[in-house]
Symmetry: C2
Subunit: 329 residues, 2 copies
């Protein structure tokens, strides 16, 4: 059974998940080729290689071929859905039973197509699926946060190449979200304004770090990006939670993401990347000062002991320069 | 000129360092082989390929062959030594001129020998050099912190394979150190005890996460390690700053590190690793509650969007299990 252990010095929780050692990249079956469709658990015809599906976009019965998208439990879950949530001390340390949901969104039946190569409807369905899975999982009162993310490419941490993303229901609010909430709340308490709305207004006015804008979204690089070509997608309308977005708004987001990814792929030659949703947790009411957004980080430079030891990042590409390059794509 | 930009939501500063793009791994000279001694700027005979040395262990004149260890400025510095330190606002963002020191410690004239393969005296000299460089750099009143670290292996972020470590003088206290100080101070204010001394006492008593102990040091895994086989080396004697350690204490540390690395190398087959010093900053008096220590993180598993998006880490190896494995080495 996995457990969550709290770092003594921060809000960081670590998932100690011994089962994860059995994953493809940790196994000794290095002869197995997860790049070939025959062995790929996410390809059509191999539905029996995954646990039974939770959700699918298809016109036939579950767990058989002919589908557009499937959501299945992660076979090697970091957190487990069964069991009681127990928060305990251990000496002067803190731990929680490793309760959570860990789902895989198999984005397409194509083994190789990137999100930006799919039809508009298929891309929209991926983002609509994120919304539906959040709406479903947040009914589980054991969860305080749901993390949606995508690792594209081995360098980004993907162990299976078939296009997929992941949804993790967590019994804690993650450190990075807590950190954002803390600053956003202080800003709101002082000014009665959302700090994210302020960022959008400021960047839209100065335009040095804005890749493009639509009537609903703005795609920009943060002022202090940790990584070269790091981007963020913000909705213009202030809403704390992504899942409050109407289906038409989700569709527009999907196309904004597609256009952003196309530019990145052109400028950086199909880089590995991480895509992450930052959303309001459910343990409290954040509607006044949290503002959902996506982070998109292409992985073209590495990190080392300096970053790990200090949480100070060295970024060789000023965001203004990255935006200049991407705008020409 | 590099600059430091503050993340709006945290204590994280990002070094925007366009000059770093010229580094070997970013250059297009992929034909150049930094693995071969002829092209290696850190090998004997190639002294002219580095900036003039700052410090060396040798019996002859500087910047020529026949030396045991050299310290040179980083040719592609993240921060620059020349210039005035200016702290400025930019709209509602914050920045500082990228002032700092960025030095490389060329640990040995051997192109391939790991630290654990060197003679005792040579290993000791590396750690004594860290102490001397800190004592020298902390006289520069522009600096608030000095980060000593080592990236071993390409996966750990090393761009040159010749054994070396780095020393960075910084005009800010890094987020990870600030975080530790905050908790340590709260603990001290409440209990009048050092939290690190408490950890040492607790772990030494329970012994589940202790690799080995000497009369002066303890090598252990943290309760919530972010990475498999993550280790920490603590001195038993409470001191805020590493550089206060006597030369004999530094020598003992060097041998403790050597023995730790040998075990890791045996258990994990010569892994890439990061070694990082956590030390007291100079902007305040931390003597009561900070306690210097080293972190040693072998890089055997990757991170992805979940870690990047949440600062929640998934570690498949419980620290108790890692210690069991290492103890048998």
């Amino acid at each position: 059974m996995p457990e969550l252990r709290k770092d003594l010095f921060s809000d960081i929780w670590v998932v100690i998940a011994p089962e994860r050692k059995l994953r493809p990249q940790f196994s000794n079956l290095s002869g197995e080729d997860f790049l070939s469709p025959e062995n790929c658990p996410f390809c059509e015809g191999n539905e029996s290689m995954t646990p039974p599906e939770i959700y699918a976009i298809r016109n036939n019965k579950p767990n058989q071929p002919e589908w557009q998208l499937r959501v299945v439990p992660n076979k090697f879950p970091a957190l487990r859905i069964e069991g009681n949530l127990e928060r305990r001390g251990e000496g002067f340390y803190d731990k929680i039973t490793g309760i959570g949901a860990h789902e895989v969104v198999i984005e397409t039946n194509s083994h190789t197509k990137g999100i930006d190569e799919l039809e508009n409807e298929a891309i929209t369905n991926i983002f609509l699926t994120f919304k539906r899975r959040i709406l479903d999982l947040k009914q589980d009162i054991r969860f305080r946060y749901i993390q949606v993310f995508k690792n594209h490419g081995i360098r980004a941490g993907a162990t299976i190449s078939h296009p997929h993303s992941q949804v993790v229901g967590m019994p804690v609010v993650p450190a990075r979200i807590k950190e954002r909430i803390k600053t956003a709340k202080a800003h709101y308490d002082a000014k009665e304004r959302c700090i994210f709305c302020d960022i959008i207004f400021h960047e839209s006015e100065h335009h040095k770090r804005v890749l493009f804008e639509t009537s609903d979204y703005i795609v920009m690089s943060p002022y202090a990006p940790r990584f070269p070509f790091e981007l963020a997608i913000y909705p213009r309308i202030h809403r704390a939670s992504f899942e409050e977005t109407g289906d038409d708004g989700v569709q527009k987001l999907a196309l904004v993401f597609r256009d952003t990814l196309r530019k990145l792929n052109k400028a950086l030659e199909q880089p590995a990347y991480n895509l992450m949703l930052h959303n309001a947790p459910f343990d409290n009411d954040y509607k006044n000062y949290f503002h959902w957004h996506w982070e998109l980080v292409p992985l073209i430079s590495g990190t080392g002991g300096f970053e790990l030891g200090t949480y100070t990042y060295i970024n060789p590409t000023p965001p203004e320069e990255a935006i200049d390059v991407l705008k020409k794509m």
